[in-house]
Structure formats: structure tokens, C-alpha cells
Symmetry: C2
Subunit: 232 residues, 2 copies
């Protein structure tokens, strides 16, 4: 990627978005790049956190594995999203593994380089805090959902959130443009793939969604999903 291309990625990112041109250019010039094939990991849970990443294109699934082998999907991340920085800033090992669900490119900076950038452009620190605050909010909302709501509501809310973040409008409805398995949804909502499968089957029956078997999910009646996600 050349510098202008990098700048345009940074412009749209959580960390650099809205900063003056010279900050973007400094960031772009200081960056390195990495390309991941589908299924490859950017780094692994437990690795020393030495590097900050920003997704340039493609999509990552952030997985956390428990000592007893269970898996939780923390979030999906797309272009502009910052990966790994929380751990790097805190000086702790990466707490999760980001895996490419499709071919993905990322920009990256060593911690030392990033600290230089922050020193030179203090607005970066404010943006970083803002990003972290957003993560906290999101996690609090999900905790509340898993702690208080029934499975169908949680699945509905999760599908809607993913659609909001990454959905593309088509004539048939809102399409989620990357492969999202029943297992992924189960690990995001704290249930089993069986329950997800049953629930989605019922929704297909009702005409709310489309996408049996591994085709991309299309939401045909988003409003109905909102109702389900809010049902008392």
C-alpha cells in the first residue's frame, strides 16, 4: 500500500479519524503492513503484546479461549478497527486471538513508534480513550444481555449489531457480507449452535431472514428482528 492509500485507511479509523493531515501522514509513514489469508491469526492469545494494528481491509473474528477449552467470540472487526492496543498499553499479554474470516490486510506499529506518534499528537491519546470507552460500553451492554435476556432476544440483538456494523443494503434486505456461522453466533451469545440453528430456522420459516446453509445471511425484515430483540 502506498502512503495515500494508508492515509485513507487511517482517515476512516477509530484512532486517527478526524485528525489533521500531518498526523495521518506521520502515522502512515511509520506503519508496516501484514496480510492474512482466511483462517490465519494476526497474533495469539497469550503472546507478548508488542504491536498495535489497524485493519485496512477484510475482517477479523476476535476469539477468547478459556482454560477448559470453551470459546467466546468477543467481536468482529473490520476496516478502521484498532486491534491489540489495549493489551500493549497495559503491558499485558494479548487476551484474545484475532483470526481472519476472509483475506485481511492490517497496518501495524511497534509500541515505541506508537508512543512517539502519541507524544507528537496528543489528540491520539484522546481518541484512544474514546475507543476504549466505546468498548467498555459495548461489553457492558452484552453482559447485561447475557445476564438478563433469553436466548432468542440475544441472538436477535447480536445479528442486528453485526448488521449495523457491517451490513450492506441490497434489494432483498440487509446482507452480512462475510461468512457468519451458527457456531460464531452461538459463541457470541453464550449458547449452543443447536439453539442458534433452531432459532434461525424459525426465523427463515417466518420470512425474517434468508440464508440456509453457508450462504451469507440476509435480513429481510429488520424491523421484526428489532421487535424480537426488545420483546418483554
Amino acid at each position: 500500500m502506498d502512503i495515500p492509500a494508508r492515509v485513507s485507511v487511517l482517515e476512516r479509523s477509530t484512532l486517527f479519524g478526524g485528525l489533521p493531515r500531518e498526523a495521518l501522514e506521520a502515522g502512515a509513514e511509520a506503519a508496516s503492513e501484514k496480510k492474512l489469508d482466511k483462517g490465519e491469526a494476526l497474533f495469539r492469545q497469550g503472546d507478548d503484546a508488542t504491536t498495535h494494528y489497524i485493519v485496512a481491509s477484510g475482517r477479523l473474528r476476535l476469539d477468547q479461549t478459556t482454560p477448559d477449552g470453551k470459546n467466546v467470540v468477543l467481536r468482529f472487526m473490520g476496516p478502521g478497527d484498532l486491534v491489540g492496543s489495549v493489551a500493549v498499553m497495559r503491558g499485558i499479554p494479548y487476551p484474545a486471538t484475532p483470526t481472519a474470516v476472509e483475506e485481511t490486510r492490517a497496518l501495524l506499529w511497534s509500541h515505541a513508534r506508537m508512543m512517539e506518534l502519541i507524544q507528537a499528537h496528543p489528540a491520539l491519546a484522546m481518541k484512544a480513550m474514546n475507543m476504549m470507552g466505546g468498548r467498555i460500553e459495548e461489553l457492558q451492554e452484552r453482559l447485561q444481555q447475557v445476564a438478563t435476556q433469553q436466548v432468542e432476544r440475544r441472538i436477535a440483538a447480536t445479528v442486528l449489531k453485526i448488521a449495523g456494523q457491517s451490513g450492506r443494503k441490497t434489494q432483498a434486505g440487509v446482507e452480512i457480507p462475510f461468512p457468519l456461522s451458527r457456531q460464531d453466533l452461538a459463541e457470541m451469545t453464550g449458547t449452543t449452535l443447536h439453539t442458534v440453528s433452531r432459532t434461525l430456522s424459525a426465523w427463515i420459516e417466518e420470512g425474517i431472514i434468508e440464508g440456509r446453509r453457508s450462504s451469507h445471511l440476509v435480513i429481510k425484515r429488520p424491523h421484526r428482528l428489532v421487535e424480537i430483540s426488545e420483546q418483554a
Copy 2:
């Protein structure tokens, strides 16, 4: 509180801890104070976030209420903990209500004052990020627990975490030095007070804990609780 007393609170706080004396003094001088009786709220979920707080003494329970009236306890906060700053920094309404579970004193700063302090002492920004990173970690861990573990394990892990944060060693075991109701534990673990009550009754039966009815909880066999919290 006089300035030296405030300085000693700030010294022990997540935000100011470890900073040079002059930063502590600047913070102490810029602060105001507020006292809460048991049961009073520092602010309310939904209020405009205008003020940063640090707990000086006492203890707060941070509650999040859902539109449909359910309640989730996000965390307990004691001396040194920062309250409200995430929302203030992001410019969003406070997402939860901190209620005093015992008489509590807090120091507070307007957003403008806090920004001046951060400008003058950039290390504060780093400390704030560190604090937020810690929250993110904690929330990810809880999400993982609620999503994958059985209720008894979650209750055990929660009791242990609270004991780790606030417990005092006595000859009888580790005591949690503030009133912690079955309801509170239920709202922290995403279950009902009935289930919590049954679980704690069984633990009392087994001699793991002490504290029927509203006396303070004492953990007599912490190691056994750790086992439960890790049981496959």
C-alpha cells in the same frame, strides 16, 4: 478534607497513583468533595456526564437498569476507584447509577478542570487508559463467565473477586467488610436471589463460608472456593 488528606487518597487511586507529588497536589487543590449517606446515589443513569469522581472512603455499587426494569450490578467501587470518567470523556450520559452501600465520601472535578490537569500532566492520560484497559479486561472475563460457566462457578468467582478487592483477613477467614446481599450477588452473576441463597446455604453447610442473614460474609475456606470456581 484538608489537602494532605486528599493527596493521600489520590496517591492510592487508579488515576493519580505513582504520579509526582506536584501532580497530586494540583489534583487535590482542584477537587471538590461530596458526602453520601447509605443508599444515596452519586448520580443517576441517564444524567449528563459532567463530573469525574474518585472514591475517598466508603463503597459504591454500580447498577445498570434495563428498559424492562431488570438490574445488573456492574461492580463495587471503593477508595481510589474512578467513577464516571468513561462517560465524561466520551461525552455520553452516565450509563449506570453508583449507589452508596455505606457512608461514602468522594472527590470530584468538573470536566474542564480535569482536562487542565491532564494537559499539565500527560501521565494522567496514560493512567486513565490503563484504568480503562483494566475495565475492559474485567468485563471480558465476566462476559466469558456468564456465557460459558454454570451458576455455582460464577458465584464462587464473583465472591472471590470481591474478597480479593475488598476482603480483610480475620482469624475466622477473609471477611467482606460491607453488606453484600444475595440479591446483589444474583445481579452480579446473572441469576436469581433464590439460586444464590440455595448455593450459599450449601456452602455454609460445607463450612466454606459463614454469614447467614445480613451479617458480613466471611470466607473460611478460600481454597475450596477457588476449586469450585475452577471445577471443570
